[in-house]
């Protein structure tokens, strides 16, 4: 749907984001800026085999199945996860590129530059 494989954007404190990039990233961040979706993403990512069945996810919350399905759709639309039906169950998997993109945005800044932040050090990923 959206272009999920854009290289995009330097670290947030490196150079000002363009209006377009900011809007693009905000979509992805909005998807993650929810406790339930954050936990869903974490559960899927840390699940054995790298993928989790919806049934497992639903049981972990005090929410109805439609609500979980809605949150999964938001994550999927944002390009953060991908779902696949295998027989009876639907399995979701994290899209690592998308997560890495967010990680790169909040780049490793040098924490200890007490007043002279002119020379940042970027860790080459």
């Amino acid at each position: 749907m959206a272009a999920t494989t854009t290289p995009c954007c330097a670290p947030i404190a490196r150079e000002p984001l363009s209006e377009t990039d900011a809007a693009d990233l905000a979509v992805m961040l909005k998807a993650v800026a929810d406790p339930v979706r954050l936990r869903l993403l974490s559960m899927i990512g840390s699940h054995a085999g790298g993928e989790a069945c919806v049934c497992d996810l639903t049981d972990a919350f005090d929410l109805t199945a439609p609500t979980i399905s809605h949150h999964l759709k938001v994550l999927r639309t944002a390009g953060l996860i991908d779902g696949e039906r295998r027989g009876t169950w639907v399995y979701y998997r994290i899209i690592p590129e998308a997560v890495n993109k967010l990680g790169a945005l909040f780049a490793p800044l040098t924490e200890s530059s007490p007043g002279r932040p002119g020379d940042l050090e970027l860790l080459p990923v």
Copy 2:
């Protein structure tokens, strides 16, 4: 207000987030999940000297001053920036710890683990 200096949370795909940690992180992510605030943060962080005056920020948008002030307050409440009045103008500065916390959450995953994600490699920061 909130505890901003918590070490908190392994990478999102490392282990499932606790309900508490997820809620805590969601607050910070909600603050960033907006195009305007994303650009504000980026402008502040990449500004010469590491800090930016509100007047500079206001001019860069088609929004009224109160709206910008509101967004800055959201970022400040989330512990992402800090503001200080010096004479006539107010200067804002990024809090690197907070940004790094987000960066650590979306940790560098090994992209190419095709089915055996048991041993992830963490880059020691």
